[in-house]
């Protein structure tokens, strides 16, 4: 790694591949630190809002649903259903909403040659992922210690399922960051779209509960529903009949991610500078 004491800008020129990767990781780290400050400031709990926001969402909804709905649905505990559905859902929605016009509002960052649009969006989404994961751990600890849900039967399966949701979320956010930069109409309708997409995410149902005729909608078009299904399969073990395909999730997420990266590398001329 280049020396910190060297002040010459030349140290950032003609980097090897590994140096470039380290540089971009450093830039993403710098952006995450900066974003926490600009978004949450130093007032009251400050950066703790990173987890505060999603926890209000996940925790609030979990408590609500636990109170108003029957304690079991199709033999599964309500609280566990809500947590496994809402955590990925909050991540997906927040990430997509945060990706809208992510560049126009951050155009001052582009004054620094080392900062690329892909860094900006990656930092934003990563911050969202960190927040949601921390909130998920807290909600899980709370609900388990109060006896409203049990720990997952198969941690590996649960975490892999969540991993696929995260992977897909990055890709789709990259794509939205590009599209909203180009279309004001889309920018205005993103929050409605994410709302209309709620059933499509499969956060509220197991695919097995819906009539076989309609299962394909979630099973073969929705990587998120697949990911959630995988999480729940890990959570409930043999109590559920999961419908997911690792193969489907891998290729849809990978494709989305690659299209997203490609678009982010090409978004630069379309960014409105202030």
């Amino acid at each position: 790694m280049v020396n910190k004491k060297v002040r010459s800008a030349k140290k950032h020129v003609n980097l090897t591949l590994s140096q470039s990767i380290l540089t971009q990781l450093r830039v993403i780290y710098a952006l995450i630190m900066r974003e926490t400050l600009t978004r949450y400031g130093r007032e009251n709990i400050g950066f703790l809002w990173v987890v505060g926001e999603p926890i209000l969402f996940c925790g609030g909804v979990t408590i609500m649903w636990t109170l108003v709905r029957p304690s079991h649905e199709h033999g599964l505990r309500m609280t566990a259903m809500v947590v496994t559905g809402y955590v990925p859902l909050v991540l997906f929605r927040h990430a997509v909403v945060r990706s809208t016009k992510a560049y126009a509002v951050n155009s001052s960052l582009l004054y620094h040659r080392l900062v690329t649009p892909l860094d900006i969006i990656t930092a934003r989404i990563t911050l969202e992922v960190i927040g949601v994961m921390m909130a998920a751990i807290l909600v899980l600890c709370g609900a388990v210690s109060l006896g409203y849900m049990e720990l997952p039967e198969d941690w590996a399966l649960t975490l892999s399922g969540f991993g696929f949701v995260v992977f897909f979320t990055y890709g789709i956010s990259f794509i939205f960051s590009y599209l909203t930069e180009r279309s004001d109409l889309l920018e205005k309708t993103v929050s409605v779209l994410t709302y209309l997409a709620l059933p499509w995410t499969g956060a509220f149902v197991m695919i097995d509960w819906i009539p076989p005729k309609y299962r394909w909608v979630l099973e073969y078009t929705s990587p998120i529903a697949n990911g959630i299904e995988m999480m729940r399969s890990g959570f409930f073990g043999s109590k559920v009949v999961p419908h997911y395909s690792i193969c489907f999730m891998t290729y849809t997420s990978l494709l989305t991610f690659m299209v997203g990266v490609y678009l982010c590398l090409r978004v630069r001329p379309h960014i409105e500078l202030s």
């Binding site: 790694m1 280049v2 910190k4 004491k5 002040r7 010459s8 800008a9 030349k10 140290k11 950032h12 020129v13 540089t23 450093r26 830039v27 780290y29 710098a30 630190m33 900066r34 400050l37 600009t38 400031g41 001052s108 960052l109 582009l110 004054y111 620094h112 040659r113 080392l114 900062v115 630069r268 001329p269 500078l273 202030s274």
Partner: protein, 217 residues
């Protein structure tokens, strides 16, 4: 010799459905150590040229060959996040450019002399304070070429003296691209002058000639 070369650089903006050409196939060569003063009427495209060289705006067509490292444009607004303090902006720049935090802090504090306001949001700064922060932060990184868009003229006498020492004396070998309407300043500082007019860049054989052309527009 390392050079900064702009080749057939064009820039057009889209305003609604209309396309407005700002610069039309502009050519410019800057040698290492040149101090180029850029003159032109308001809206002629001076800042646009600086922004393209700084890598912020992408040219509509044409290429820029960088034979040297170029700073971000020192201008009003731009490089800083207004809601963050000068100190937060410094930390961000230290992280991005991989600089030693303590050392940079010392340097910037010594140069900018913002005192306690260094910890206030940048948007509360006066234009002079903004200029001081911008200068000290960009001088904390050793670029071969500094792009200066107007901002230098707003400082007080002490700041002007510091610029004199840090930029024109200590870094006398560096390349400077200075946009200004202050012809005295250009005459005093620059060894070359370029005039932007009618979407083109005209290089003058001497600074005095460039200034004369500027007045005769």
């Amino acid at each position: 010799m390392s050079r900064l070369i702009c080749q057939d650089l064009s820039k057009a903006y889209h305003v609604g459905k209309k396309r407005r050409l700002i610069l039309d196939r502009v050519n410019l060569e800057v040698n290492y150590g040149d101090r180029l003063g850029i003159l032109g009427r308001n809206g002629a495209g001076k800042s646009t040229l600086i922004k393209m060289i700084g890598g912020i705006e992408k040219p509509t067509s044409g290429t820029i060959h960088y034979g040297m490292t170029v700073s971000w444009p020192l201008a009003f607004g731009g490089a800083f996040q207004g809601s963050l303090s000068g100190h937060d902006n410094l930390r961000f720049i230290c992280r991005v450019y991989h600089l030693d935090y303590e050392e940079t802090l010392d340097y910037v504090q010594g140069f900018a002399q913002l005192g306690r306001q260094f910890y206030d949001p940048v948007k509360t700064y006066s234009s002079g304070m903004h200029a001081r922060l911008a200068f000290s932060l960009s001088l904390a990184i050793e670029f071969d070429c500094y792009l200066i868009d107007e901002v230098i003229m707003v400082g007080d006498a002490r700041f002007a003296q510091r610029c004199e020492d840090e930029l024109f004396a200590k870094r006398a070998d560096r390349t400077l691209l200075i946009v200004s309407h202050n012809t005295d300043f250009i005459k005093h500082t620059c060894n070359r002058a370029a005039l932007i007019h009618d979407k083109k860049v005209f290089l003058s054989s001497s600074v005095d000639e460039g200034i004369e052309k500027y007045y005769s527009l």
